[in-house]
Amino acid sequence: MSAAADFDCIVIGAGHNGLVCASYLARGGRRVLVLEAAPEVGGAAITREFAPGFRVSAGAHLLQLMPRSMIEELSLKSHGLVFAGEDLQTIALSSDGAPLTLDAGGVVGLPAAERTAYSDLMAQLQRFGRALAPLLNAAPPRLGTSSNADRLSLLKLGWQIRRLGRRDMRELLRIGGMCVYDLLQENLSTPLLQGAMGFDAVLGTNFGPRAPGSVFTLLCRMAAAANADRMAPALPQGGLGALSNALAASARSSGVTIRTDAIVQRIRVERDRAVGVTLASGESISAGLVVSNADPKTTFLGLLGSEHLDTGFVRRVAHLRSRGLSAKLHLALDRLPPFRGLDGAALGGRLLVAPSLDYIERAYNHSKYGEYSAAPSIEITLPSVQDPQLAPAGAHVLSAVVQYVPYALKGGWESARAPLVASLVEQLDAYAPGLRRSVLAAELLTPHDIEQQFRIFGGHWHHGELALDQFLMVRPVPGAAQYATPVAGLYLCGAGSHPGGGIMGIAGRNAARAMLARAA
């Protein structure tokens, strides 16, 4: 590595993966600079005030998939990470009956046969998740190479699946490409329960439960949860921004330099090698390696430019499916909303509006034609129930992921924002009668807003659809799936890389390991 360079590594973007990557690089002895365009670290994992006295996790609002081992390794707890709540229950809301409470182990309030069916299915999916989990923690193997490491990695994957035993292996291979709709119809009979499970399969994706491959996303989630050793989501005290602050503190303690308000305009290339970055201010910073936590389209087509890439590669990047379909709704409420059938403690859980698989699929249908649904599926949290500092005394914050909300709304978003907020409040009011009268302020982030505010092309929180054709050795695209890119000295470390997004941090750690291994 050139001693003349200002830094050994520049990380573009202080999202969680960028910070994780920077920490591991610094622990590997590298001089690391993290550049963040926004005034604060965190990317889409930040906490901010959206109404006077009301703070909310502006992007991601739950933490589940970051491995406990990583939280340990980076000493995040000693750097300020405190959980306001852990092992959150999932509560499936019903518009006309009692809600269902479920967790990774079981569900209450249903006939014995259905409870057993649910437990059996969850146990099986968790076995699959555990089998696939090791796959997440390393650079994906390349196909068609003569590298022993790649072959060994493929062999390991085969062995993990074979080791499940004949029955489970067959079942895993059978359901791997299926739609979650069929899987849940086969195994369960309660629409409310099916809806709750189906919702997890399509959360953050660009498809409905009847899409082939929707079991695959559920398996990814199971694998990531198994890998994280956390089967239910948790709430960091102070919101997700507190996690980012702990990550940044940890990175700094390892010697990482972090600069905010530093907008990278260009990745500089000399003699076919990334040699640093140029900031919007005109400042130029040199480094032996540049690693981008920006999404693949922003990185390659924006910061790098196609002139440094081959046409076939650019074609693959351009074809990456990266339109987001999830919106965020934030409500400032003057009191705890009266969700039917739920007492105070239950309101600290994760509430789902996904009463059946058909309901979710119908909600999805509208998005195909550039419309939003009047009856969307929603994941609701009331973080102030367990973390009262987020709202003034007695008041509360509601944070919701709304699906499906198109990136490009027919007729444009300009005049559609207020009607959508009104429609969503109306929806929530049906489950919590009277909620509409307690709304003090509302904020809606459409996928387009998410793109603008968090600099994610298409506003997709995985930086590109997580699907079989954009996974493992083809994520984000062949030629950049092992964190290295076609341009020497340029790496990826974001959610667009294996194994994807969802506040996991693994892409960042894997990228750091790949860079340290190459340089060694």
Binding site: G305, E307, T311, A318, P486
Partner: protein, 398 residues
């Protein structure tokens, strides 16, 4: 021009079709890039000798043609092709090839620089998809002008005299690869001193609506200079003598090959001189650098074969015994001008040095009886025929 839906007319007609149809004595038409074109007008021999001794008129209209314009036109072109087009001045033409990411040839063609930021790319095969994808991130407009431009190749020693007689004053000042613009009684003609015969020759480009009129005037002007219409068969002899490659014969586009190892790199085809690693990035550069480092396993060479029987589709061996196969012939002719039995062959690397003796297995059909001949051959330099007159400016007044 071609208003009929393609399914009604699987082969389109060029703007010169009626003229060609009228002069065709054999009704020998073949498909080329979606158009019906003449293979042989009268006899291959007559047409071939007109290329070398008089002049010929060949319909180029089926060539795929693209107009590239915009502020980034040069940057776009330079990333597309492997050679450095920064050196190509306006009103000049360059032969170029372009590769995929793996450094394998997609096609070859000619690049016309028509202005500071306007290029025309002429290729054997349709390229729009690749060009549009190559344009991602560039401020360029790309238009398929295949149907909008008619082209004629006027080739042979008397070609300059024919154009002068036609009234193109100053055409003799065009140097090889120059482009000139001419007006012919209100008809705009673009003339480039380019061709596929290795002889003195020009390509004449025009609006398809003017096509028949230009054909008629050229044929009239060339009457006393031995001008004949030319079919593809005779042209093929001339292009082999001249050392030119033919797509789908010497190589298949990497976009079309299915089997591993059937694509070809510029190095394998002896086009090293077209690859410029110093000009900055272009598609396939990194792969080609690796190929250059690793060396090529085979190479296209010229062969001079004993006897006078063309070695069509022949396998090539290291020794007369025929035990070790080292490659195969891609194109073969008896060259009427060189009086040599010539071929291009793709041979394994150890056998490509000029002077190497190899053995060629020729199958002969003599009065419906197949015979096999093992003939000695030597690796020789290309081109096989390169007369001074192709370069002389002004051309001699034949």
């Amino acid at each position: 021009m071609n208003e009929a839906p393609l399914f009604r007319e699987p082969l389109l007609r060029t703007p010169f079709h009626e003229r060609a149809r009228a002069l065709s004595q054999l009704d020998s038409f073949i498909p080329w890039n979606g158009y019906t074109t003449v293979d042989v007008f009268s006899t291959v021999e007559h047409e071939y000798f007109a290329i070398r001794n008089a002049s010929t008129l060949y319909d180029l209209s089926p060539m795929a043609k693209y107009r590239i314009t915009g502020a980034d036109a040069l940057r776009f072109m330079n990333r597309l092709v492997t050679r450095d087009l920064a050196k190509l001045k306006p009103n000049r033409v360059a032969y170029a090839v372009w590769c995929d990411d793996e450094g394998q040839l997609i096609d070859d063609g000619t690049v016309f620089r028509l202005g500071e930021s306007e290029y025309r790319l002429c290729a054997q095969e349709r390229q729009l998809d690749w060009l549009l994808d190559s344009a991602i991130g560039y401020d360029v407009d790309i238009a398929d002008v295949t149907e909008a431009i008619a082209g004629l190749a006027l080739q042979g020693p008397t070609s300059c005299a024919v154009l002068k007689k036609l009234g193109l004053t100053g055409v003799e000042r065009l140097k090889p690869f120059d482009i000139g613009s001419f007006a012919l009684q209100g008809t705009a003609l673009t003339v480039s001193r380019t061709g596929f015969t290795g002889d003195l020759g020009y390509e004449v480009w025009m609006d398809p609506r003017d096509a028949e009129g230009v054909w008629d005037r050229l044929m009239a002007a060339g009457h006393s200079r031995g001008l004949r219409p030319l079919g593809s068969r005779a042209l093929n002899i001339a292009r082999i003598e001249a050392g030119f490659l033919l797509p789908n014969v010497e190589f298949l586009s990497a976009e079309r090959t299915l089997r591993v190892g059937r694509e070809r790199s510029p190095f394998e085809l002896g086009l090293d001189w077209l690859v410029d690693f110093e000009k900055g990035h272009f598609t396939g550069r990194r792969a080609l650098l690796a190929k250059q480092r690793d060396g090529t396993r085979r190479r296209l060479v010229g062969l001079d074969i004993e006897g006078n029987k063309p070695a069509h589709n022949a396998l090539v061996y290291s020794a007369r015994s025929g035990r070790k196969e080292i490659g195969s012939v891609t194109s073969a002719i008896w060259s009427p001008t060189c009086k040599r039995n010539l071929a291009y062959a793709l041979l394994d690397a150890p056998y490509v040095a000029v002077g190497t003796e190899v053995w060629v297995e020729i199958y002969l059909n003599s009065e419906l009886t197949w015979e096999r001949r093992m003939r000695s051959a030597r690796v020789v330099d290309k081109p096989f025929f390169a007369p001074e007159r192709r370069r002389a400016t002004p051309p001699a007044d034949f």
